[in-house]
């Protein structure tokens, strides 16, 4: 028996969610007294996962998250899950995680608890609290299966300190049978933003209140200072001012950063559905009656073109 964590990386480099997944798995591994195994693909430096609780790190070195199909990733993961008799499989609910988890679940005939926001309150039967109703409620599920996949809502659990423990690191290659592939990837393109929205701890978002796409330079400048991701409201993406990939809200991306700064966004219920999982919300809006203030922790009533430059200066002074 074991706990197996599927650890994503981006172009071979691990991100915060990679370590969050390990941290989650380690706690379960301690509780049930079974070893934690990390499984990753195409990592540049699998040793960098050491000190986070995995006794063994398996790196499928010839397959990369960027170029493999979800089918390949799922099939190979299933093989290692079975070989290691994993009872608990931990993943991050990124887009890749959301795609692979149900494929794996169906293949293994196990249970799946997606969007977990807390550690399990019980490991057998597995009981986990998950996000639901677009962050307007939580749902606690209990699985009737002995083997389960838990996919964690990114940035909802946190991290543990790195220790000096070493792990057994295994680099292996796996043949892929391309004939099995019904989907052929033609190309992949990275979004312009430097930081993935789902991975960002701070997100700066702006809406129609900015009046023109040219005015986004101050949003980007603010994001640069705070090492933040940039997002936008639905009307802004509908008008083509910003790419669809930046749209957060009901029909866009749901995010839950530590800090969400909304500039010139009124806070329609559809927008809140995508961001009300954020731990702290700052709202900057000219309209004191904007509904977003009711859902915020901090608010400034004022013109974005006056407030944002001031905030940039204040943050530059703070950072220096």
């Amino acid at each position: 028996m074991s706990v197996l964590a599927i650890i994503e990386n981006w172009e071979g480099e691990f991100k915060k969610t990679s370590f969050e997944t390990l941290h989650y798995g380690k706690k379960i591994s301690n509780e049930i007294g079974e070893e934690l195994i990390a499984l990753t693909f195409g990592a540049n430096n699998p040793e960098s996962l050491e000190g986070h609780g995995a006794s063994k790190i398996i790196n499928i070195s010839n397959i990369k998250f960027e170029t493999a199909t979800n089918n390949t990733l799922s099939k190979i993961s299933a093989e290692f899950i079975s070989k290691n008799e994993a009872s608990h499989i931990i993943m991050s609910n990124t887009i890749t995680g959301k795609t692979i988890a149900p494929l794996l679940t169906s293949n293994l005939n196990c249970g799946l608890l997606s969007n977990a926001i807390e550690h399990p309150t019980n490991n057998s039967p597995l009981t986990v609290k998950c996000k639901g109703f677009s962050s307007k409620a939580h749902i606690t599920y209990e699985s009737q299966k002995q083997q389960n996949i838990i996919s964690i809502l990114p940035n909802s659990i946190g991290l543990s300190e790195k220790n000096n423990e070493k792990s057994e690191v295994v680099n292996i290659d796996r043949e892929i049978n391309m004939l099995d592939e019904k989907v052929k990837i033609l190309h992949r393109q990275k979004a312009n933003e430097k930081i993935s929205l789902a991975d960002a701890e701070i997100v700066i978002s702006a809406g129609r209140g900015l009046k023109d796409p040219k005015n986004w330079s101050m949003v980007e400048e603010l994001a640069e200072i705070l090492n933040a991701g940039t997002a936008c409201s639905k009307p802004v993406s509908d008008m083509g001012w910003r790419p669809h990939s930046e749209h957060v809200g009901q029909t866009g991306l749901a995010i839950n950063p530590d800090l969400y700064i909304a500039i010139g966004i009124s806070g329609a219920i559809q927008h809140l559905a995508g961001v009300n999982g954020s731990k702290n919300i700052v709202v900057i809006n000219t309209d004191p009656e904007a509904p977003f203030f009711k859902a915020a922790n901090y608010g400034i009533v004022g013109d974005a073109f006056v407030v944002v430059p001031k905030l940039i200066t204040a943050l530059q002074n703070f950072k220096n």
Binding site: N71, S74, I95, T96, K98, A101, P102, L103, T105, S106, N107, L112, L113, S114, N115, G132, F133, K136, A137, H138, I139, T140, E142, S143, Q144, K182, V183, K184, L186, H187, R188, Q189, A191, L197, A198, D199, L226, K234, D238, H244, S245, H247, T251, A254, L259, N276, K279, N280, I281, V283, A295, A296, N297, Y298, G299, I300, V301, A314, L315, F318
Partner: protein
Amino acid sequence: MNILVCISSVPDTTSPINFTNNNQSFDKNGITFIINPYDEFCLTKAIFIKESQSATITVLNVGNNTNDSVLRKALAIGADNAVRINQESVNSEIVAECIVEYCQDKNFDIIFCGRESIDYNGGKVPGFIAEKLNLPFINGCVGMNIKNEVIELKREIDNGHEVCESSFPALIAGQKGLVEEKDLRIPSMRGIMSARTKSLEVIEPTATLENRIKIIHYDKPIQRSECKMINEDNVEELVDLLNNEAKVI
């Protein structure tokens, strides 16, 4: 082209979310149910395909007869026929099993599902169906183009997008981008009238359904404390609060 669109009936976005029965049941009182928005993007795309080449669109729901209204709406928008599998949609696993069983002998060229439902947000059903029916699975699809024997698709990936090609039949889990919000159709009077004469078939599930996942209870997130207002001439105070109080910068 034989197209299936799986439709989930969900509370309207603006509905109050409350629970009853000691927080063990979702309170349906005063809730308006709508076609899951992600499913509606798929349905609209299916109608576009039908308008550009010949196609038959079947819409499918798993649930009780209170869901007939969303199926009627789908028919009024432009689906050709509707099927409801008369089974309480207690969890994604059971819904997926019912859909898989139904699809076995139907030869659909495309099965559309919304990427997730806006109530339980599980996003499990499309992947479950794809794996069980051994279909190519295109999740988070934001664009598609049929080219003779293949489908060219665009899907969201973490921090970017992917363009891929799939053979038929395929399972496509769609979202906004597949069509735009402005493309969504409001049922016309003629559509509503003709929906009355279209078939809405109710079938009983025959597969043995395994209840793998149970809901123990619901709860609501802790309300945020009242918003602290900061004067626009004193943004330094905001920086200080974010640093010392929220501890996020």
